[in-house]
Amino acid sequence: MNAFTWVEVTTAEQAVAQLSAARGGSALLKAGGIDVLDRLKEGLDAPERLIVLRRPTAGSKSTLSEISEIPASRLPDSITRLLPAGNAGDAPQPRDCLRIGALVTLAQIASHPTILRALPALAQAAHAIATPQIRAVATIAGNLLQRPRCWYFRSADFHCRKKGGDECFALDGENEYHAIFDNRTCAAVHPSGAAVALLVLDAIVEIQTASGTRQQRLSAFFVSASQQGGDVKRENRLEPGEVITHLYIPLPSPDERSLYLKSKQKQSFDWPLCEVAISVRRAPSGAGSLLQAARIVVGGVAPIPWRAKAAEAALLRLSKLDIESVRAIAQAASDGARPLAKNGYKVPLCQGVVAQAVMQILSNA
């Protein structure tokens, strides 16, 4: 680890100012520090200044480290306009939202009563990440912004495309844990399990910029190299010097359900081989189909949390739960998959976790 100056701040404005003030030199933001320490120890980053965003000391409060319910009447317009419309063409209506500060830990999320009750996919995803020790320290924003865990990217010995090189070593190398979708430029999978859950819950991310704040749907936040505006060296649309401050998640209506499942090689704790989050909204009785809305996002399979749109469409057509229909939805979940030499198993695995999630959520819905 290189020597660096520790610059301690307690607000996002201060963090942005410090990040942009590092003219010529390099600065890196640390919150919980789990991913940052990994990168520093591997020599992937060697900043001159570590900008440490801390919870204010006891006595002073900060929304950065709080989980709070924001009633619809107090929801800022900047958030309301990004909420999903109830019906196609409708203007979004304000809804009660949960606001999660960037410094909230994964352990806090996994045990928060409102999240456990209303947003189970998020509680389950947070609980499935890493170890109890790491969840006690790691923050939600750090989880979303951590760099990929591809072993070529994580090794200083491989100058891969993500580090400005001209090769993806995984494509013809050891690729058993790599992407099966959108994997021709960089085969690293997106590392955030929380993102998978937050995407099916229509989360909105709020970002501190040098001139104020901006808000964005999380579904538009992550971007792969092959997508418009994509850059293989980044996994999201956070600009240099910007800092995530909050997430807003609309609280579900009584007819909405969500859940998260993770398939891993080691059962005590592990990165996912494949993970899935699903949210559904029941159709009124008498409708032709069971559901009026569905979201399926698969993790561990693509450079971004992967929206399984074909499976969603098949799920929306479902009129009764039977094994043939579930099989069709599962098949659709791997539409477009192009596995590499050693990760072909992820195709049936992806189908399997999606089938399991569909059966579980419909039997509970």
Binding site: Q18, D38, V52, T131, I134
Partner: protein, 238 residues
């Protein structure tokens, strides 16, 4: 430092104590280093009036206070020093092990504010108290050395580990014990100790890898001590 921190088996120099004292850390001299306020602060870049001032530390070593096992101790650390490194190399608390040094094995588990935390993925400045303007209090750290009493009475979880052979090579044991003892204390404070379940134990040690595979003995030790049947002093269920 050694005088303040090392095991207090009074009298002669223990092998461990000798190794610590003759090490290169020369931690003892740090006690003499009076507080040198090396912390620079500036409020000029703070736009919000309520915001605390921005604090700059390093990159060279700075004197700080750590609160370890109930004692306030002085140390001289660089911003890049991990808590695990400072505990072992400066404070002589080598019970905390460094296994993977990446937060994956749990051997370095200590309590910060009473919560099991990976000391190898925690920078010492994250828990240190700093002097000067913008300074702050140290956060309490508990290591395996702080779990037993000064008189050498073991924590009930430690007794149970002994009674149930819950260790083989022992390298994971300090971290394993810290995870288990945190669960034990939490359940006890809730008055729920007797209701401790196997699932809760497995959950609590999910981040502690044991290369020897002693997990079943760890679970058995925890369950029996929670039910008051396995602390070794009353026979245990071996």
């Amino acid at each position: 430092m050694v005088a303040a921190m090392a095991d207090s088996d009074s009298g002669g120099v223990s092998r461990r104590g000798f190794l610590i004292q003759s090490g290169t850390g020369s931690a003892a001299s740090l006690l003499g280093a009076a507080s040198l306020p090396a912390v620079r602060s500036s409020a000029q870049a703070a736009p919000a009036p309520a915001a605390a001032p921005i604090t700059e530390i390093g990159p060279g070593p700075v004197p700080v206070q750590l609160q370890v096992n109930g004692k306030t101790v002085a140390a001289r650390i660089e911003p890049r020093d991990t808590l695990a490194h400072v505990l072992r190399e400066q404070l002589g608390l080598s019970g905390t092990k460094i296994g993977c040094d990446r937060g994956a094995c749990g051997a370095c588990t200590v309590w910060v504010d009473g919560i099991p935390t990976p000391a190898c993925m925690t920078l010492a400045l994250d828990v240190a108290g700093t002097a000067g303007k913008g300074g702050r209090a140290a956060r309490p750290v508990t290591t395996i050395e702080g779990l037993s009493t000064a008189q050498g009475t073991l924590h009930p979880v430690q007794d149970a580990f002994v009674a149930h052979d819950a260790l083989q090579c022992g390298f994971c044991t300090p971290g394993m014990v810290m995870s288990c003892a945190a669960l034990y204390e939490r359940k006890r404070s809730q008055g729920q100790l007797a209701a401790l379940s196997e699932g809760e134990v497995r959950e609590a040690i999910a981040g502690n890898l044991c290369r020897c595979g002693t997990y079943p003995h760890v679970v058995r030790a925890m369950l029996s001590t929670a039910k008051g049947t396995g602390n070794g002093k009353n026979g245990g269920s071996r």
